[in-house]
């Protein structure tokens, strides 16, 4: 008996090792272009056609005299707004679509797949036509609304999956205990949905911050996003300055991740002291 347990243990360990190695390889694949991008941000060739020599000058330019930063701020503002709006509408929308019956439910469920399925150019042009018909000015607000449009379906898909696998009895218990629907939703349902909401935020932010085709069609004056600017730079060669900016962004994110785990560790310690106050 002891022997069998030992064998299973050993098998499990070798399986875990294989999984770790495989995951590392996949991570390497994901990070390969990033590493190339970082290396070439130090390239002394202004159009980044080939490796010419090592230089820091693009970072200097980035921090002293760069117009790229302003486009980054526009992109970030749009992505944050689009994420907040689409996650709010999408989350409560998914709840409504899963829990209630209403006449146009099938129509809405079908419509949700269209932004996923439709080629981006077509959605871009169709939204441009919509804005023009409604006489809405192109620009930041127009881009945010376009991004919300293609983010909502992803949020709903993720949240619906989450809701479908959720144990409803906890909510029922809350209602039995006298809480009304809103309180139950806010205090019971929502906390259980947190992992899904986080994935939705990730997804929406990722889709929004990198969108170029749709933004391009609905952008107006003073609303050039970073991807749109970068795409327009391809014409004259992508300067290593663009790589430098992307490198700084990655560095900030990874630093943020490290800081976050530090604060979490501290918070966790504190939380252990007052678990009671959570509910």
């Amino acid at each position: 008996m002891k022997d069998r347990v030992g064998r299973i243990e050993r098998k499990k360990r070798s399986f875990n090792l294989k999984m770790t190695i495989f995951s590392l390889i996949v991570f390497a694949f994901i990070y390969l272009p990033i590493i190339v991008m970082i290396v070439f941000s130090f390239n002394d060739q202004k159009r980044n056609y080939y490796w010419k020599g090592f230089t820091f000058k693009w970072y200097e330019k980035l921090f002293t005299d760069s117009d790229l930063i302003q486009y980054l701020w526009i992109s970030l503002a749009i992505a944050v707004l689009a994420t907040i709006i689409s996650v709010i509408i999408g989350t409560i929308g998914a709840f409504g679509l899963v829990r209630f019956e209403f006449k146009i439910k099938k129509l809405i469920n079908g419509a949700l797949y269209i932004p996923v399925v439709i080629p981006e150019v077509v959605l871009g042009i169709a939204l441009l036509m919509l804005y023009e018909t409604a006489n809405m000015p192109l620009g930041m607000a127009a881009i945010v609304m376009a991004h919300v449009t293609f983010c909502i379906p992803f949020v709903v898909i993720i949240m619906r999956g989450r809701l479908a696998g959720m144990d409803q009895s906890i909510e029922e218990a809350s209602m039995d205990l006298g809480a009304n629907r809103l309180t139950t939703f806010m205090r019971v349902t929502l906390p259980m949905l947190v992992p899904g909401i986080l994935s939705s935020c990730f997804m929406s932010f990722t889709l929004s911050i990198d969108d170029v085709i749709i933004s391009n069609f609905v952008a107006g004056p003073k609303s050039t996003t970073l991807p749109v600017k970068i795409l327009s730079l391809v014409k004259v060669g992508l300067s290593p300055e663009v790589n430098a900016l992307a490198t700084v962004m990655i560095a900030v994110l990874i630093l943020g991740l490290l800081l976050n785990s530090l604060t979490q560790a501290i918070l966790k310690k504190r939380a252990e002291n007052n678990v009671k106050s959570y509910f």
Binding site: T20, F22, S23, V26, F29, I30, P33, V36, M37, F40, Y50, W51, G90, G93, G96, L97, R99, K106, I108, G110, A111, Y113, I114, V116, V117, I118, P119, E120, V121, V122, L123, I125, A126, L127, M129, V148, T149, F154, I158, G161, G165, R181, S199, F202, M203, F205, T206, I209, D210, I213, P227, I230, V234, L238, V242, A246, L253, L257, S261, Q264
Partner: protein, 295 residues
């Protein structure tokens, strides 16, 4: 029982208040920003191009007839093949990774998921051009191989279907890991234990228990990877050396270059129908409640 009587007595507005409050905003948004523009796209797909590239508003079926030409079917078939290949590889790479991440404590898992996503917060064009830099005639790979004497002349590493698939994978992998992780993470581990206790080996457990239980994640992955890679055009154009024509580029050309919006619209509708039918067949076969309610 008491509950149903109460609902019957309430006015329509009060009875539907929870539904309106929750599903109302999303319904409104979908109707205004998706269905209205879609109606426009459907309408123009039955029109034709006028001499100056505008739309001639007379009804015709010519666009739909035209796209049944072998030429366009060939483009569609090739796009389809590349998208299927991309999706399969994404699943093969993404599933084990998602499984690995899901097996970690939740704080670590969250961080690993972040690590998967972070590269995608930089610009996708810059990432794609990294492959062009890497594989260029005088790029690092060729230079290295020349230096060690493995080759005598630089290799043509770029501008092929293969590198286009690598590009599509780069663009799509996180979108496969996320839904897979979400559903694997939800997996009730005791069921796996039970399966093992009943004598099933690891592979059988995986095939008979894990896969069916994580099907929503797999479907989500197919949805989020297959469909966008079918319509994506900037990856093939950045990496294909301008010699790979996929349906995304074809549709883009109709709208922008040829200014034949009606034909572009009808191609787009064909693409949408194709994917919806595929999803429908898929959900019938796999009988998934979640997706079934679409139809």
């Amino acid at each position: 029982m008491e509950d149903t009587i109460k609902t019957k007595r309430m006015s329509w507005g009060r009875r539907n208040a929870p539904a309106i409050a929750t599903a109302g905003p999303v319904s409104f948004w979908m109707i205004v920003f998706v269905l209205l523009p879609m109606i426009y796209v459907v309408v123009i797909s039955f029109m034709s191009r006028n001499v100056y590239g505008g739309i001639d508003f007379t009804f015709t079926l010519a666009n739909y007839k035209e796209m049944m030409e072998p030429l366009y079917l060939k483009v569609i078939w090739k796009s389809f093949k590349l998208a299927v290949l991309t999706t399969v590889i994404c699943l093969l790479l993404g599933y084990p990774l998602a499984y690995y991440i899901a097996g970690k404590p939740s704080a670590t898992a969250a961080k690993l998921i972040m690590l998967v996503m972070i590269p995608y917060w930089t610009n996708s064009l810059v990432r794609l051009y990294s492959y062009n830099l890497l594989g260029a005639t005088n790029g690092p790979i060729n230079n290295f191989l020349l230096k060690i004497g493995a080759i005598e002349a630089p290799l043509d590493l770029l501008y092929s279907d293969g590198i286009v698939i690598v590009g599509l994978l780069t663009a799509m992998l996180p979108f496969s890991v996320l839904p897979l992780y979400t559903s694997i993470e939800k997996l009730d581990k005791s069921l796996l234990e039970a399966s093992k206790d009943l004598g099933a080996n690891a592979f059988t457990t995986f095939r008979k228990v894990t896969i069916p239980l994580t099907m929503p994640g797999i479907v989500g992955c197919i949805l989020l990877v297959f469909i966008p890679s079918l319509g994506m055009y900037y990856v093939p154009e950045a990496l294909g050396g301008g010699k790979v024509m996929l349906i995304g580029s074809l549709i883009r050309n109709q709208f922008l270059v040829t200014k034949n919006w009606p034909f572009g619209a009808s191609l787009a509708i064909l693409m949408i129908l194709m994917t919806l039918i595929m999803m429908w067949i898929y959900t019938r076969v796999a009988s998934l409640d979640d997706l079934e309610e679409v139809f």
